[in-house]
Protein backbone atom coordinates (compact mmCIF):
# COMPACT_ATOMS: atom_id res chain seq x y z
CA UNK A 1 0.00 0.00 0.00
CA UNK A 2 1.04 3.58 -0.54
CA UNK A 3 1.96 5.48 2.61
CA UNK A 4 2.70 9.03 3.66
CA UNK A 5 6.22 9.03 5.03
CA UNK A 6 6.69 12.70 5.83
CA UNK A 7 5.42 16.22 5.42
CA UNK A 8 7.49 19.19 4.35
CA UNK A 9 6.58 22.85 4.85
CA UNK A 10 8.27 25.74 3.14
CA UNK A 11 7.85 29.26 1.85
CA UNK A 12 7.80 29.55 -1.95
CA UNK A 13 9.10 33.10 -2.46
CA UNK A 14 9.56 33.81 -6.20
CA UNK A 15 12.79 35.73 -5.58
CA UNK A 16 14.34 32.52 -4.23
CA UNK A 17 13.70 30.88 -7.59
CA UNK A 18 15.11 33.89 -9.41
CA UNK A 19 18.23 33.89 -7.22
CA UNK A 20 18.85 30.22 -7.95
CA UNK A 21 18.13 30.51 -11.65
CA UNK A 22 20.49 33.50 -11.97
CA UNK A 23 23.31 31.84 -10.04
CA UNK A 24 23.08 34.16 -7.05
CA UNK A 25 22.52 31.55 -4.38
CA UNK A 26 26.03 32.03 -2.98
CA UNK A 27 25.64 35.79 -2.48
CA UNK A 28 25.62 37.01 1.14
CA UNK A 29 21.94 37.97 0.87
CA UNK A 30 20.85 34.52 -0.27
CA UNK A 31 23.43 32.24 1.32
CA UNK A 32 21.64 31.94 4.70
CA UNK A 33 18.34 31.14 2.95
CA UNK A 34 19.76 28.25 0.95
CA UNK A 35 21.83 27.03 3.91
CA UNK A 36 18.54 26.46 5.72
CA UNK A 37 17.73 23.79 3.16
CA UNK A 38 21.06 21.92 3.24
CA UNK A 39 19.65 19.43 5.71
CA UNK A 40 16.51 18.90 3.60
CA UNK A 41 18.53 18.16 0.46
CA UNK A 42 20.54 15.49 2.27
CA UNK A 43 17.48 14.08 4.02
CA UNK A 44 15.41 13.71 0.87
CA UNK A 45 18.34 12.26 -1.06
CA UNK A 46 18.78 9.59 1.61
CA UNK A 47 15.22 8.36 1.23
CA UNK A 48 13.64 9.60 -1.98
CA UNK A 49 9.88 9.71 -2.18
CA UNK A 50 8.14 8.18 -5.19
CA UNK A 51 5.52 10.91 -5.24
CA UNK A 52 5.19 14.37 -3.74
CA UNK A 53 1.65 15.64 -3.18
CA UNK A 54 2.40 19.34 -3.43
CA UNK A 55 0.02 21.86 -1.89
CA UNK A 56 0.50 25.42 -3.13
CA UNK A 57 -1.45 28.34 -4.48
CA UNK A 58 -1.57 29.67 -7.97
CA UNK A 59 -0.71 33.40 -8.14
CA UNK A 60 -2.98 34.55 -10.98
CA UNK A 61 -1.08 32.32 -13.38
CA UNK A 62 -3.09 29.25 -14.39
CA UNK A 63 -6.26 30.75 -12.93
CA UNK A 64 -7.42 34.24 -13.82
CA UNK A 65 -10.71 35.71 -12.63
CA UNK A 66 -12.47 33.65 -15.30
CA UNK A 67 -12.45 30.68 -12.99
CA UNK A 68 -11.39 30.34 -9.36
CA UNK A 69 -11.33 26.82 -7.89
CA UNK A 70 -11.10 26.47 -4.12
CA UNK A 71 -9.24 23.15 -4.38
CA UNK A 72 -7.77 22.08 -7.75
CA UNK A 73 -6.19 18.63 -7.97
CA UNK A 74 -3.82 18.00 -10.88
CA UNK A 75 -4.72 14.64 -12.41
CA UNK A 76 -2.78 15.22 -15.63
CA UNK A 77 0.33 13.49 -16.96
CA UNK A 78 2.53 16.56 -16.87
CA UNK A 79 2.56 20.23 -15.95
CA UNK A 80 4.82 22.85 -17.53
CA UNK A 81 6.54 25.66 -15.63
CA UNK A 82 4.54 28.81 -16.31
CA UNK A 83 5.64 32.09 -17.83
CA UNK A 84 4.66 34.50 -15.07
CA UNK A 85 5.76 37.52 -17.06
CA UNK A 86 9.51 37.14 -16.70
CA UNK A 87 9.66 34.02 -18.92
CA UNK A 88 9.26 30.43 -17.63
CA UNK A 89 11.72 29.31 -14.96
CA UNK A 90 14.47 27.10 -16.45
CA UNK A 91 13.38 24.04 -14.47
CA UNK A 92 12.18 20.60 -15.57
CA UNK A 93 8.60 19.85 -16.52
CA UNK A 94 6.67 18.38 -13.62
CA UNK A 95 5.62 14.77 -14.21
CA UNK A 96 2.35 13.89 -12.53
CA UNK A 97 0.98 10.61 -11.21
CA UNK A 98 -2.42 10.36 -12.93
CA UNK A 99 -3.31 6.98 -11.38
CA UNK A 100 -2.71 8.01 -7.80
CA UNK A 101 -4.21 11.44 -8.41
CA UNK A 102 -7.38 9.94 -9.86
CA UNK A 103 -7.59 7.55 -6.94
CA UNK A 104 -7.26 10.42 -4.48
CA UNK A 105 -9.88 12.39 -6.42
CA UNK A 106 -12.40 9.59 -6.23
CA UNK A 107 -11.82 8.94 -2.56
CA UNK A 108 -11.79 12.58 -1.46
CA UNK A 109 -14.87 13.57 -3.49
CA UNK A 110 -16.74 10.64 -1.96
CA UNK A 111 -15.69 12.01 1.41
CA UNK A 112 -17.60 15.19 0.52
CA UNK A 113 -14.82 17.48 -0.59
CA UNK A 114 -15.80 19.41 -3.70
CA UNK A 115 -12.64 19.15 -5.77
CA UNK A 116 -11.95 20.61 -9.16
CA UNK A 117 -9.90 18.18 -11.26
CA UNK A 118 -7.36 19.68 -13.64
CA UNK A 119 -5.61 17.90 -16.46
CA UNK A 120 -4.13 20.93 -18.19
CA UNK A 121 -2.37 23.55 -16.13
CA UNK A 122 0.93 25.41 -16.02
CA UNK A 123 2.50 25.57 -12.58
CA UNK A 124 3.99 28.76 -11.16
CA UNK A 125 6.66 29.57 -8.57
CA UNK A 126 4.34 28.40 -5.81
CA UNK A 127 5.01 24.84 -6.95
CA UNK A 128 8.43 25.05 -8.61
CA UNK A 129 10.36 27.03 -5.96
CA UNK A 130 9.80 24.37 -3.27
CA UNK A 131 11.02 21.70 -5.72
CA UNK A 132 14.16 23.75 -6.35
CA UNK A 133 14.76 24.25 -2.63
CA UNK A 134 14.46 20.54 -1.90
CA UNK A 135 16.07 19.06 -5.01
CA UNK A 136 18.42 21.78 -6.30
CA UNK A 137 18.90 21.99 -10.04
CA UNK A 138 18.56 18.49 -11.53
CA UNK A 139 17.95 17.67 -15.21
CA UNK A 140 14.63 16.12 -14.25
CA UNK A 141 12.74 16.14 -10.94
CA UNK A 142 13.60 12.87 -9.18
CA UNK A 143 9.98 11.95 -8.42
CA UNK A 144 6.42 12.36 -9.55
CA UNK A 145 4.50 15.38 -8.32
CA UNK A 146 0.74 15.78 -7.86
CA UNK A 147 -0.09 19.51 -7.82
CA UNK A 148 -2.82 20.64 -5.45
CA UNK A 149 -3.70 24.30 -5.90
CA UNK A 150 -5.64 26.10 -3.17
CA UNK A 151 -7.35 29.44 -3.68
CA UNK A 152 -5.90 32.04 -1.35
CA UNK A 153 -6.01 34.92 -3.84
CA UNK A 154 -9.68 35.87 -3.79
CA UNK A 155 -11.21 35.99 -0.34
CA UNK A 156 -12.48 33.73 1.17
CA UNK A 157 -9.85 31.03 1.11
CA UNK A 158 -10.96 27.71 2.59
CA UNK A 159 -10.94 27.79 6.38
CA UNK A 160 -8.14 26.32 8.45
CA UNK A 161 -10.62 23.76 9.72
CA UNK A 162 -11.45 22.73 6.14
CA UNK A 163 -7.78 22.53 5.17
CA UNK A 164 -7.00 20.37 8.18
CA UNK A 165 -9.89 18.07 7.30
CA UNK A 166 -8.99 17.67 3.65
CA UNK A 167 -5.48 16.73 4.75
CA UNK A 168 -7.01 13.87 6.70
CA UNK A 169 -9.08 12.81 3.68
CA UNK A 170 -5.97 12.88 1.47
CA UNK A 171 -4.13 10.66 3.92
CA UNK A 172 -6.99 8.16 3.91
CA UNK A 173 -7.01 8.19 0.10
CA UNK A 174 -3.26 7.69 -0.26
CA UNK A 175 -3.23 4.83 2.21
CA UNK A 176 -5.91 2.97 0.28
CA UNK A 177 -3.94 3.02 -2.99
CA UNK A 178 -2.81 -0.45 -4.01
CA UNK A 179 0.83 0.18 -4.85
CA UNK A 180 3.89 0.30 -2.67
CA UNK A 181 4.62 4.02 -2.94
CA UNK A 182 6.40 6.38 -0.59
CA UNK A 183 4.43 9.60 -0.69
CA UNK A 184 5.43 12.91 0.87
CA UNK A 185 3.00 15.75 1.28
CA UNK A 186 4.34 19.27 1.10
CA UNK A 187 2.56 22.48 2.03
CA UNK A 188 4.02 25.71 0.80
CA UNK A 189 3.55 29.48 1.02
CA UNK A 190 3.96 31.95 3.87
CA UNK A 191 5.37 32.80 6.28
CA UNK A 192 4.44 36.35 7.22
CA UNK A 193 4.43 38.75 4.30
CA UNK A 194 2.36 41.56 2.87
CA UNK A 195 2.85 42.63 -0.73
CA UNK A 196 0.47 45.56 -0.83
CA UNK A 197 -0.28 49.02 0.43
CA UNK A 198 1.24 51.05 3.22
CA UNK A 199 1.69 47.91 5.33
CA UNK A 200 3.87 46.16 2.72
CA UNK A 201 6.89 44.47 4.24
CA UNK A 202 5.21 43.40 7.47
CA UNK A 203 7.05 40.60 9.26
CA UNK A 204 5.85 39.07 12.51
CA UNK A 205 8.65 36.86 13.73
CA UNK A 206 7.02 35.98 17.04
CA UNK A 207 3.73 35.03 15.48
CA UNK A 208 5.42 32.95 12.78
CA UNK A 209 7.35 30.97 15.36
CA UNK A 210 4.30 30.45 17.49
CA UNK A 211 2.57 29.19 14.33
CA UNK A 212 5.37 26.65 13.83
CA UNK A 213 5.11 25.57 17.48
CA UNK A 214 1.39 25.04 17.24
CA UNK A 215 1.59 23.37 13.83
CA UNK A 216 3.84 20.77 15.43
CA UNK A 217 2.10 20.36 18.78
CA UNK A 218 -1.49 21.51 18.42
CA UNK A 219 -2.59 21.42 14.78
CA UNK A 220 -6.25 20.79 15.62
CA UNK A 221 -6.30 23.90 17.79
CA UNK A 222 -4.39 25.92 15.20
CA UNK A 223 -6.95 24.89 12.58
CA UNK A 224 -9.59 26.86 14.49
CA UNK A 225 -7.81 30.17 13.90
CA UNK A 226 -9.90 32.51 11.73
CA UNK A 227 -8.55 34.08 8.54
CA UNK A 228 -8.53 37.55 10.04
CA UNK A 229 -5.82 36.53 12.51
CA UNK A 230 -3.53 35.49 9.68
CA UNK A 231 -4.13 38.77 7.87
CA UNK A 232 -3.78 41.01 10.90
CA UNK A 233 -0.76 39.27 12.37
CA UNK A 234 1.12 37.85 9.39
CA UNK A 235 0.17 40.26 6.59
CA UNK A 236 -2.41 39.97 3.86
CA UNK A 237 -0.40 37.34 1.97
CA UNK A 238 0.37 35.50 5.20
CA UNK A 239 -3.00 33.86 4.61
CA UNK A 240 -1.05 31.36 2.49
CA UNK A 241 -0.11 29.67 5.78
CA UNK A 242 -3.60 28.23 6.03
CA UNK A 243 -2.41 25.69 3.44
CA UNK A 244 0.13 24.28 5.91
CA UNK A 245 -2.74 22.67 7.77
CA UNK A 246 -3.37 20.40 4.79
CA UNK A 247 -0.04 18.57 5.00
CA UNK A 248 -0.27 18.57 8.78
CA UNK A 249 -3.73 17.00 8.63
CA UNK A 250 -2.28 14.15 6.58
CA UNK A 251 0.16 13.07 9.29
CA UNK A 252 -0.27 9.82 11.21
CA UNK A 253 -0.87 11.33 14.65
CA UNK A 254 -4.02 13.09 13.47
CA UNK A 255 -5.43 9.66 12.61
CA UNK A 256 -4.50 8.28 16.03
CA UNK A 257 -0.91 7.26 15.25
CA UNK A 258 2.31 8.33 16.94
CA UNK A 259 3.55 11.93 16.93
CA UNK A 260 5.79 12.91 14.04
CA UNK A 261 9.52 13.47 14.48
CA UNK A 262 10.66 17.05 13.85
CA UNK A 263 13.59 16.58 11.49
CA UNK A 264 14.20 20.19 10.61
CA UNK A 265 13.01 23.62 11.63
CA UNK A 266 14.31 26.78 10.04
CA UNK A 267 13.31 30.42 10.06
CA UNK A 268 14.95 33.38 8.38
CA UNK A 269 14.17 37.01 7.53
CA UNK A 270 14.12 38.31 4.82
CA UNK A 271 13.78 36.83 1.39
CA UNK A 272 12.61 39.76 -0.68
CA UNK A 273 9.37 40.81 1.11
CA UNK A 274 8.96 37.65 3.09
CA UNK A 275 9.90 35.62 6.15
CA UNK A 276 11.09 32.16 5.19
CA UNK A 277 9.90 29.21 7.26
CA UNK A 278 10.66 25.55 6.78
CA UNK A 279 9.78 22.40 8.67
CA UNK A 280 10.17 18.67 8.10
CA UNK A 281 7.96 16.28 10.04
CA UNK A 282 8.53 12.57 9.61
CA UNK A 283 6.06 9.85 10.45
CA UNK A 284 7.52 7.17 12.69
CA UNK A 285 8.03 4.06 10.60
Amino acid sequence: MARITASVYTSHVPAIGAALDQGKSGEPYWQPVFAGYDFAKQWINDDKPDVVFLVYNDHATAFSLDLIPTFALGTGAEFKPADEGWGPRPVPTVVGHPELAAHIAQSVIQDDFDLTLVNKMDVDHGLTVPLSLMFGQPEAWPCRVIPFAVNVVQYPAPSGRRCFKIGQAIRKAVESFDADLKVQIWSTGGMSHQLQGARAGLINCEWDNRFLDRLIEDPAGLAQMPHIDYVREAGSEGIELVMWLIARGAMADVAGGPSPIVRQRFYHVPASNTAVGHLILENQA
Binding site: A60, G85, Q194, A200, I228
Partner: protein, 147 residues
Protein backbone atom coordinates in the same frame (compact mmCIF):
# COMPACT_ATOMS: atom_id res chain seq x y z
CA UNK B 1 -24.86 42.54 2.44
CA UNK B 2 -25.12 41.14 5.90
CA UNK B 3 -21.91 39.11 5.81
CA UNK B 4 -19.25 40.13 8.26
CA UNK B 5 -16.16 41.78 6.83
CA UNK B 6 -13.83 41.75 9.80
CA UNK B 7 -10.92 42.76 7.59
CA UNK B 8 -11.95 46.35 7.00
CA UNK B 9 -10.07 47.69 10.04
CA UNK B 10 -6.55 46.59 9.08
CA UNK B 11 -4.47 49.66 8.14
CA UNK B 12 -2.88 49.92 4.69
CA UNK B 13 -4.56 46.72 3.55
CA UNK B 14 -7.27 45.96 1.02
CA UNK B 15 -8.61 42.43 1.09
CA UNK B 16 -9.40 41.14 -2.39
CA UNK B 17 -12.87 39.83 -1.75
CA UNK B 18 -15.71 39.24 -4.19
CA UNK B 19 -16.66 42.91 -4.10
CA UNK B 20 -13.16 44.05 -5.04
CA UNK B 21 -12.96 41.26 -7.58
CA UNK B 22 -16.12 42.46 -9.32
CA UNK B 23 -14.91 46.04 -9.30
CA UNK B 24 -11.51 45.08 -10.66
CA UNK B 25 -12.56 42.40 -13.11
CA UNK B 26 -11.43 44.03 -16.35
CA UNK B 27 -8.41 45.70 -14.78
CA UNK B 28 -7.18 42.33 -13.59
CA UNK B 29 -8.02 40.58 -16.84
CA UNK B 30 -6.06 43.29 -18.68
CA UNK B 31 -3.12 42.46 -16.41
CA UNK B 32 -3.44 38.75 -17.23
CA UNK B 33 -3.16 39.57 -20.92
CA UNK B 34 0.37 40.84 -20.24
CA UNK B 35 1.51 37.27 -19.62
CA UNK B 36 1.84 36.97 -23.40
CA UNK B 37 4.93 38.50 -24.96
CA UNK B 38 2.98 39.81 -27.95
CA UNK B 39 0.57 41.70 -25.71
CA UNK B 40 3.41 43.14 -23.64
CA UNK B 41 4.94 44.51 -26.84
CA UNK B 42 1.66 46.04 -27.98
CA UNK B 43 1.06 47.58 -24.56
CA UNK B 44 4.54 49.10 -24.47
CA UNK B 45 4.18 50.48 -28.00
CA UNK B 46 1.03 52.44 -27.12
CA UNK B 47 -0.20 52.05 -23.57
CA UNK B 48 -3.30 54.20 -23.94
CA UNK B 49 -4.45 52.45 -27.12
CA UNK B 50 -3.95 49.03 -25.56
CA UNK B 51 -5.85 50.02 -22.40
CA UNK B 52 -8.70 51.32 -24.54
CA UNK B 53 -9.26 47.79 -25.82
CA UNK B 54 -10.44 46.80 -22.33
CA UNK B 55 -13.74 47.55 -20.59
CA UNK B 56 -11.89 49.28 -17.75
CA UNK B 57 -13.03 52.52 -16.12
CA UNK B 58 -11.17 55.68 -17.01
CA UNK B 59 -9.90 55.83 -13.45
CA UNK B 60 -8.45 52.33 -13.73
CA UNK B 61 -6.67 53.31 -16.92
CA UNK B 62 -5.25 56.44 -15.27
CA UNK B 63 -4.08 54.40 -12.31
CA UNK B 64 -2.26 51.99 -14.62
CA UNK B 65 -0.71 54.78 -16.70
CA UNK B 66 0.48 56.43 -13.47
CA UNK B 67 1.88 53.08 -12.25
CA UNK B 68 0.26 53.90 -8.93
CA UNK B 69 -0.31 50.44 -7.48
CA UNK B 70 -2.19 51.73 -4.44
CA UNK B 71 -4.58 53.52 -6.76
CA UNK B 72 -4.89 50.39 -8.90
CA UNK B 73 -5.77 48.39 -5.80
CA UNK B 74 -8.42 50.84 -4.68
CA UNK B 75 -10.11 50.38 -8.06
CA UNK B 76 -10.21 46.60 -7.64
CA UNK B 77 -6.76 45.46 -8.68
CA UNK B 78 -5.13 42.50 -6.98
CA UNK B 79 -1.38 42.49 -6.40
CA UNK B 80 -0.79 39.13 -8.13
CA UNK B 81 -2.49 40.47 -11.24
CA UNK B 82 -0.89 43.92 -11.03
CA UNK B 83 2.49 42.20 -10.78
CA UNK B 84 2.21 41.47 -14.51
CA UNK B 85 2.50 45.21 -15.13
CA UNK B 86 5.61 45.27 -12.98
CA UNK B 87 7.02 42.31 -14.88
CA UNK B 88 6.37 44.14 -18.13
CA UNK B 89 8.30 47.10 -16.73
CA UNK B 90 11.11 44.83 -15.55
CA UNK B 91 10.43 45.42 -11.87
CA UNK B 92 10.90 42.88 -9.07
CA UNK B 93 8.24 42.06 -6.51
CA UNK B 94 10.28 43.91 -3.90
CA UNK B 95 10.34 47.05 -6.01
CA UNK B 96 6.59 46.83 -6.54
CA UNK B 97 5.79 46.26 -2.86
CA UNK B 98 8.13 49.08 -1.83
CA UNK B 99 6.56 51.48 -4.32
CA UNK B 100 3.30 51.34 -2.38
CA UNK B 101 4.85 52.63 0.84
CA UNK B 102 6.41 55.82 -0.46
CA UNK B 103 9.85 54.58 0.55
CA UNK B 104 12.71 54.55 -1.91
CA UNK B 105 13.85 51.17 -3.15
CA UNK B 106 16.86 51.36 -0.84
CA UNK B 107 14.86 52.40 2.20
CA UNK B 108 12.42 49.53 1.68
CA UNK B 109 15.21 47.00 1.14
CA UNK B 110 16.92 48.21 4.30
CA UNK B 111 13.73 47.85 6.29
CA UNK B 112 13.42 44.25 5.15
CA UNK B 113 17.07 43.52 5.97
CA UNK B 114 16.47 44.84 9.48
CA UNK B 115 13.66 42.32 9.99
CA UNK B 116 10.80 43.93 8.11
CA UNK B 117 7.99 46.18 9.24
CA UNK B 118 6.88 45.61 12.82
CA UNK B 119 3.28 44.62 13.42
CA UNK B 120 3.24 46.89 16.49
CA UNK B 121 0.72 49.67 16.00
CA UNK B 122 -0.20 48.25 12.60
CA UNK B 123 -2.86 45.71 13.54
CA UNK B 124 -5.90 47.99 13.79
CA UNK B 125 -6.79 51.28 12.20
CA UNK B 126 -6.40 54.03 14.76
CA UNK B 127 -3.18 52.78 16.33
CA UNK B 128 0.05 54.65 15.70
CA UNK B 129 2.19 52.29 13.62
CA UNK B 130 4.06 53.36 10.49
CA UNK B 131 1.42 51.83 8.18
CA UNK B 132 -1.39 53.99 9.55
CA UNK B 133 -3.01 56.48 7.15
CA UNK B 134 -1.80 59.57 9.03
CA UNK B 135 1.80 58.48 8.59
CA UNK B 136 1.88 58.18 4.79
CA UNK B 137 3.88 58.35 2.65
CA UNK B 138 6.76 56.70 4.45
CA UNK B 139 10.51 57.21 4.07
CA UNK B 140 12.33 60.37 3.13
CA UNK B 141 9.67 61.40 0.66
CA UNK B 142 7.20 61.45 3.52
CA UNK B 143 9.36 63.21 6.10
CA UNK B 144 10.29 65.80 3.47
CA UNK B 145 6.64 66.43 2.76
CA UNK B 146 5.90 66.86 6.45
CA UNK B 147 8.67 69.36 7.08
Amino acid sequence: MALEKPYKDVPGTIIFDAEQSRKGYWLNQFCMSLMQAENRARFKADERAYLDEWAMTEEQKQAVLARDLNWCMRTGGNIYFLAKIGATDGMSFQQMAGSMTGMSEEEYRDMMLKGGRSPEGNRYLGEDGDAQPHRQPQGKTGSKGQQ
